[in-house]
Symmetry: C2
Subunit: 243 residues, 2 copies
Amino acid sequence: MARGRPQDPAKQQLSKQALRQAARDLLQQKPYRSISIRELAQQAGMQSAMVSYYFGSKEGLFISLLEESGEHRQKVFQQVAAEILQQPNQALALLVNNMIDLITSEPWLVRLLQDEILTQQSELRSAFLEAVPKRLSRGLLELLETLIQHNILRPDLNPHFAAASLMSNLMFPLLAEPVMSETINVNRDVIRSDAWKQHVTQVLSQGLMLNPAANHNSHSAIADQPDSDDSSQDQLSNDHTDN
Amino acid sequence: MARGRPQDPAKQQLSKQALRQAARDLLQQKPYRSISIRELAQQAGMQSAMVSYYFGSKEGLFISLLEESGEHRQKVFQQVAAEILQQPNQALALLVNNMIDLITSEPWLVRLLQDEILTQQSELRSAFLEAVPKRLSRGLLELLETLIQHNILRPDLNPHFAAASLMSNLMFPLLAEPVMSETINVNRDVIRSDAWKQHVTQVLSQGLMLNPAANHNSHSAIADQPDSDDSSQDQLSNDHTDN
């Protein structure tokens, strides 16, 4: 079974990482369905057999990539959510800046959404749903509900609608870049710019907050422990266990 | 050449319409790239040769469909724009309601965006760009610039950014429905509901307007002819010839 295959766990992890990186790189060049096991192995400097040895199949390798990305996004989101509970009046600025940075740092994921997840015949969609949006949507809805309860966001807001508005403003320009860059000059560089982030923050603050004018003045944290006003960012789970 | 092929122009128009309708119907069932000329003809009750007779190719048939849709959208948009110049304080409500109705009335176009236009290897993208968004984006930018000049929208707004925000909030939920319906319960029925339209109108009014509170009180039209305050809706082109 293991002839020529590394037994060392650390080495195995490195090989898996190299294959995931190969998958990311190839997604920049061509769609998921055109990428072959041979290309993935070649890009990672390995034998083709290593793909099924480590991941069972091409699909398994990409699912592993999605899970790694989902875990990373969940971690970043939890940090941002904890920061928001400390500075709730900055909620939209913190969400917009961090989420746009996160989304633009993984262009391969936008490509996968465009090429695969949103199409009619998508073999990766259910794995994607579990790995990325389902991991994040519960935390996002809880955060929005907390902000609504504390009158940071408008009390009449439906948290599901607020989540949809957030995702619309953060994701659409990247998803629709092939069209928007050609028609209204909103391209990837614009989306990364401070001017764009400020515009989205202002639209969403005015559109969703109860009192957007209070944005830069108040410092009252929502988190339960007012003595921990340093940058420790692990309060979200405590704050939400009673929901 | 014309053996068995209708010479009557009216009959030819009907046949072309039937083939475009077949294309719309089939897009509901399968992606563009899986649809064959034989299926298109069969769905329209014709011989396969009729597709190339009328449209040159399968691609030509779909381009004709896109052009028909683009012309229809342009006409609807011009009517909405004229109405907005009469009731500028209702600008966002009019845009949101009419545009959501328009977009949801053509689900095949959303499918084509998902399956084809946004993917890396898209043979239809440039035809789509010409037929639909390029036709609309200039008029939309002109309308937004007019509303900014007249202090209906915030004077600090970049019209390109405002257009991007509009399209994000109107289009994303439909485009991302395969994901949003599974994660935050925002599906096609929700997007068609009055509650959703009111939410989007409120977010965009508060996010983009200078004075959203004045929304329902003022009636001052922007259009140049204050005596024509009936529902005549052909003033947009007059109003914009000097731009």
